[in-house]
Each structure stands twice: as structure tokens, then as C-alpha cells.
Subunit: 83 residues, 6 copies
């Protein structure tokens, strides 16, 4: 009876989206449940999946918030600032 | 100094409610704190309880989202679709 | 389909025990599951409970580890040091 | 930069194993990381996966511990007790 | 590659604020990442920090919600009720 | 009343150590509690810190376990294999 918690930043990765879309959530839930069955033989009905979306400025990496981190990575790669 | 995290789907279980009500939250907090005292002797003031409500389509079971899962259960029990 | 995570320090609270006993774990699991049913109507078979025991020196409060904290509390109450 | 926490009971599902094997852990880590890339486009190096194994009697479902739950399920299906 | 999760009640502690401010989040992220580097030598780019803000009435202590707990503490200290 | 959970890989970073040392745990607990006080004004006695150590092969990054990831990083930097 596995429990899987997926934490991602709340932002759009599909065209026009500003958050994880319902279709993406379904794909994550199905994918993780299939994986637990394939690898450990866990029946699907015993696997719980909880997706948490975290605001970009509440997620830190490299000692700064995610938007600052991406700006730093972009700059160090010689790319222009995000408009 | 126990820490208890309760995750439930965000939905109404009291009449007219669309989320866990303040009274239900109080009952959960009191019940868990009493339990920790009764079973392990933990003083009430040392027990923290955090209740997380998770959107229905961010909670998966059986490889699908909670609303889809309930529809499947209903159908397999021969019950009509939820209106 | 609630998920409850109970974190406690690993230590004996029953006579002669050095950790949460199997009976105490059963009582915690039953108590939490009953509570979710009584307060929110959640069927028992949909509630998962996970108990984590944390080493005393990995749990901090008041800026110090749990054993140090208890010693401070004892001293400030004018009680003798724990032998 | 997703963070995924997988909690499973500590028990063997591969022949002769008494816990999740190193190969199974690798398959879970790879599978989850691939999934996050396929569904959300998250680069592999930004995904963390943490696998927690939980003792069977610290995991509750149906108001009882996992071993008791399985015994109940077996009995209600008319199967003999596990030797 | 540490992962740090900070849970606080959602409330203002800066003048005029009703939640943790962006500046406070930055200070928490930087402070925790510096700490992990100073104590364990963990490079900044390998540390993830996630800040969760929890509604006041979803956080319990002493068997009651946080606002009730504070009122109790205030009363027992002989202070007037919060207006 | 903040709750902070620090997850790190179980490995020695101090000379001769194979895990986080008691002194390092104390420094992490003190540092985090000081930070919550400095940034948000949270009194020390209301802050709980829990440190989890995770086995190296239960922590994944880049789609592989931590030891494999480090070997890849070392190789791509032209460094010799770890003896």
C-alpha cells in the first residue's frame, strides 16, 4: 500500500497553462501507479498519490528562490534575461 | 513532542460544506492530541497537528484521480452515475 | 482516503520498553482511523496511517536536542538531573 | 525541480528478499524521473526521489496494522491463514 | 543533496503583512542553504527548500487550534483578550 | 510554531564519520531555530526540527541513485573513479 507524494512548482508547462493541468495530473497518477505495480507488484487500488504544487517563490534552490535561480542559470549561460 | 500530519481530500462531508469545516478541524485536532496522551502519555501542549486539504484531482488511487475512482466503484457496484 | 503520518521520538513510554510497543502502534492506528470515521465519515479501509519513530537526538525543540531540552526544563523547575 | 517521496512497507517482493532490493530502488528512481520528464518536461538532474521503507507494523490500514489487514482480507476471501 | 521543508502558520509577522513576505522567504531559503553548507559542506546548488504556509485553524497545538491556543496562553498570563 | 524537516543522505562529512554526527545535528537544530526566530520572530520553544537520514541508494537524482550520480559527475569532469 504505497504512498507517493509528488511536489512540483506551480507553473504551466503545457501551452497556455499556468499550473499543472488535469491531464498532466492524470498522467502522473497513472504513471506512478503503473510503476509501483511493475517494479514491486503493488496492486493499483492500494497506491495513493498526492500531488502538491508549490508557489515558485516558496521553492528554493542554490540559496535563492526558483525564479532567481533560473535567472542566474540563464545569465551564466550567456542567455538574455527572460522578458 | 509528536507531530501529526493529516491529509484529506478537500470536499464537504458536513451538510452544505465544500471543505472540512472549522468544527471538524477542531475535532480532529482534539481527537489526535487526546489519542497521543492516552496511548503514549504525551502532554497535550507538546503535540502539533497539521491538517492538509488536497484538491480531489490531485489525489490519486487505483491509477486514476479520486473522482474517477469513485465513479468506477459506483459503476462496478451497479449504481447510477453521480448526477 | 486520508493519509495520516504520526512522528514521535523513539523511546519507551511503557514499562521496560525502549520504543513504541506493538500494542501502542495498534492503538494509535485504530484511534486515528476511528477518528477519521467519526469526524469525517471516512471508511476505515480508505485510511492509511504511517508511524515514524525519530531518534531523540534527531528531534530538536527550543534550539536544542530533545534530551537537552528535557534537562533544561527539569533544571528550570528545580528538579534534580536525570541519573 | 520536483521532489518525490515514495513510501512503501519494508518487505521482500523479489524472490528471497526481505526488503526493497537495490535493483528495485534503481527502477523506481529511474521510472519516476522519466515520468516527470515525459509529463512535465522536468530535466532529470532537477528531480530528487527519496524512498522510505516503513516497518509493516508501523503502517496501518482499515484500522489495523498491515499484517492484520492482510489476514482479514485473506480470511474474508475464504483463503487459509498464512503459515 | 538535502531537502528541507519548513512549515509555518500563514500569518503576517512583518508590519502590515498577512502572510510570510517574499523577503522573509528569501531569508529563510538563504539561511537554511548557508546552514547546510556550513555544517555539512553541502553545496548550495544541491539544497532544495520548500516553504509551506498552513492556515491558522489547520494547525493545532495543546489539543486546540492555534488561535485558541494563543488565547489560552494570553488568559493564563493574565493578559487581556486580543481585540 | 514552525515545523522543519531536514532530509540528508546518511553519510559521514566529518573526519572518520559514517553518518551525521551528534555535534552536526545540534548545529543544524540550533541554526534552523535561530533562523526562524531572526526572520519570523518565532520563539525558540515553539520550533520543532526533525532530521531524517536517508540511505544513499534510497536517494535518487538525475534518474539514478546518489552514488551512481556522483560517479557520473566525477567522470564527466574527467576525474578518476572513486577507489
Amino acid at each position: 500500500m504505497p504512498f507517493v507524494n509528488i511536489k512540483v512548482t506551480r507553473e504551466g508547462t503545457a501551452p497556455g497553462a499556468t499550473a499543472t493541468t488535469p491531464e498532466q495530473k492524470k498522467a502522473l497518477i497513472k504513471g506512478v501507479s503503473d510503476l509501483l505495480f511493475d517494479v514491486l507488484g503493488k496492486p493499483h487500488h492500494t497506491t495513493f498519490v498526492v500531488i502538491d504544487e508549490v508557489e515558485l517563490d516558496s521553492w528554493g534552490v542554490g540559496g535563492v528562490t526558483t525564479p532567481e535561480w533560473r535567472e542566474q542559470q540563464r545569465a551564466s549561460a550567456g542567455l538574455p534575461e527572460k522578458p
